[in-house]
């Protein structure tokens, strides 16, 4: 935490630590994380998912929006269409693959945006306290008082239905959570001896907050970020399911489920695969988050 990048002695000692097995925060984290097979599995799955999303246009066997197989409407999975065909004749596997880009991007960008704003507000509120802190925390309380999806619906009602607006809407309710988390940590960290030492050698407030307090909050932010991804993906899909987000023919998973509702009796497989896609994606992020928390939380070592 206190090591300065670029300092030769630190670089050398880090290399030596890796060779001789001395414990650094990173090696300690990796040692604990590696011991959790479930979390390692989740990490592998997330990595695979990201690869699939990046290369989806080349992997997808058919065009997700403009290929229509009129001879096979509503047919269940087969060799030609692994996940079956939807009521309009589109290949469900291709749509799921292309949809992974939308869901992962929506989840990532909404949490990143909310996390960035929330972390900044939390750092400032915790470091400066006073009236600024009270205002930020009061607004956070109010935002907390709105159930997330209600808040998102309000934003979509104002901005209109589209995927970009959904990302904005979902990010709004990540803000108070990050602000509270980071504020609490900042309050604790700023009274630590090392911060006092940095201040006594004349470092500016900016340097203290960005170089010395922020790194101390990173592990909680990473854990929370990962956990939040799952929730945000579900909320974004819920909004699309309600017709407020991605519009047809966009292959967003929630929107696909909404389209599948009409033909549930004849073609349940049309709803099954998007459901499973959302479930496994969110499950992987939640399990990864649990694993990160267990590996980063010093309390866990006692047990």
């Amino acid at each position: 935490m206190t090591s300065t990048p670029g300092d030769p002695t630190v670089t050398v000692s880090a290399a030596a630590a890796a060779a001789t097995g001395v414990r650094t925060p990173w090696s300690e984290f990796w040692r604990k994380f590696r011991k959790q097979p479930v979390a390692m599995g989740a990490l592998a799955f997330v990595a695979l998912l990201v690869l699939l999303a990046v290369f989806a246009p080349w992997i997808a066997p058919y065009d997700a929006e403009n290929f229509f197989d009129y001879d096979r409407l509503n047919t269940p999975p087969s060799a030609a269409h692994w996940f079956g065909v939807d009521p309009l004749g589109r290949d469900i596997l291709s749509r799921i693959l292309m949809g992974s880009r939308i869901s992962l991007a929506a989840g990532f960008f909404s949490v990143a945006l909310g996390g960035l704003v929330g972390t900044t507000l939390g750092l400032l509120a915790g470091y400066y306290e006073g009236w600024w802190d009270r205002i930020v925390m009061r607004i956070s309380d109010v935002l907390f008082a709105f159930p997330g999806i209600l808040l998102a619906l309000g934003v979509v009602a104002i901005l209109g239905s589209s995927m970009v607006n959904v990302v904005v809407a979902v990010s709004v309710f990540s803000v108070p959570a990050f602000a509270r988390l980071v504020r609490g940590q900042t309050l604790a960290l700023k009274h630590m001896t090392y911060v006092e030492a940095v201040r006594s050698i004349g470092a500016s407030n900016w340097t203290i907050v960005v170089r010395h307090i922020l790194p101390g909050t990173i592990s909680s932010i990473v854990v929370y970020f990962t956990m939040r991804l799952g929730t945000s993906i579900i909320t974004a899909a819920s909004l699309s399911f309600l017709g407020m987000g991605a519009q047809p023919p966009m292959p967003e998973w929630g929107a696909m489920l909404n389209e599948a509702r009409a033909d549930m009796v004849n073609a349940p497989h049309v709803a099954l695969f998007p459901s499973l896609a959302i479930f496994f994606t969110v499950l992987a992020f939640n399990l990864l988050g649990d694993g990160l928390r267990d590996a980063l939380d010093p309390k866990i070592d006692r047990q």
């Binding site: 009061r138 607004i139 309380d141 109010v142 008082a145 709105f146 159930p147 997330g148 999806i149 209600l150 619906l153 309000g154 979509v156 009602a157 104002i158 901005l159 209109g160 799952g230 579900i234 899909a237 819920s238 399911f241 309600l242 017709g243 407020m244 929630g254 489920l257 599948a260 509702r261 549930m264 009796v265 349940p268 709803a271 998007p274 459901s275 959302i278 479930f279 969110v282 499950l283 939640n286 399990l287 649990d290």
Partner: protein
């Protein structure tokens, strides 16, 4: 206790005021002129001017807010743009359906969630724990709309045991409340387990065991009581989640409640109804948080109401 209660209620006032201001400003943040929205797309200039005057939209903003606020206090939110009926009527007709659905979901979520949590904590790191926690993390990860569609497909369409949509008999409540409560039950299970695992390691639990109490009494009377404090907080927060979740679940099961009313209102830009609903949902959530704070005292007498 009474002083504490009064202080807490007074403390809510600024929060409620901010919510009321936001809800009021909501109309003015909507794209387009609210008077045009209210009059309809093809109304002429004279009609729009008349509607503007009728709704008080031609007055200065602070004056509008005072009008809005005094109407709000008396429960008058104007008329729905879609049905032309009073917003209060629209809401009161549907309130009960959502209220009972939420209560039913909370009821079984607390029961199953806490049971799974207690069993997991008692059998920590053994198979009942692993099974319970796998179920819990799946419950958090399964989106409610997908779960609702799945349950409906299996129990209503394939097996024919339960009705699909509507809210007429108690049988109609089973699937929607299961769907809505699943994620809450999962969160409750995880929280109960985490809290109980910590408490079981405390000295007073060892003392209780040492004086020869049955394990059942030690867990349920001594440990669980102390483990409940964070769980009750979580329960309060989860009520907010249920309110939000009901929006999605009501859409899946075509439930005649407030959630579906909100969706219909957002789709048709029926802003008086949206305003009233957002205010109502926020008020409910704030009151629940207050109730949670008061319940603390009943569970944990060491909290002093200063």
């Amino acid at each position: 206790m009474f002083n504490y209660f009064i202080k807490r209620v007074l403390g809510l006032t600024p929060t409620l005021l901010i919510v009321a201001v936001l809800v009021f400003l909501f109309v003015h943040m909507l794209p387009g002129d609210p008077a045009v929205l209210a009059a309809g797309q093809d109304a002429d200039q004279a009609t729009i001017a008349l509607v503007r005057q009728d709704l008080g939209l031609d007055k200065p903003l602070p004056e509008q807010f005072v009008g809005f606020f005094s109407n709000m206090v008396t429960g008058d939110f104007g008329n729905s743009l879609r049905t032309r009926r009073p917003v209060s009527t629209e809401i009161s007709e549907r309130f009960f359906a959502t209220f009972t659905l939420t209560l039913a979901s909370m009821g079984w979520a607390v029961f199953f969630g806490m049971s799974i949590g207690v069993v997991s904590a008692v059998f920590r790191n053994r198979w009942p724990d692993r099974a319970g926690m796998t179920l819990a993390v799946s419950g958090i990860s399964f989106p409610s709309f997908a779960l609702g569609m799945l349950l409906m497909q299996v129990f209503s369409v394939k097996l024919g045991w339960l009705p699909t949509v509507g809210a007429d008999t108690w049988k109609h409540y089973i699937l929607p409340s299961l769907t809505l409560g699943a994620a809450v039950a999962a969160v409750m299970a995880r929280f109960t387990r985490a809290s109980l695992v910590e408490v079981i390691q405390e000295d007073f639990v060892r003392t209780a065991r040492a004086k020869g109490l049955q394990e059942r009494v030690v867990i349920l009377h001594h440990a669980l009581r102390n483990a409940l404090i964070p769980v009750v907080t979580m329960m309060g927060l989860q009520f907010g989640f249920l309110l939000g979740g009901s929006i999605v679940v009501e859409s899946v099961f075509n439930w005649p409640g407030l959630g579906r009313l909100l969706i219909d209102s957002v789709n048709s830009r029926d802003y008086p109804v949206i305003q009233a609903l957002v205010l109502l949902f926020s008020l409910e959530f704030i009151l629940i948080n207050l109730a949670v704070d008061l319940v603390y005292g009943l569970i944990n007498p060491t909290i002093r109401y200063k």
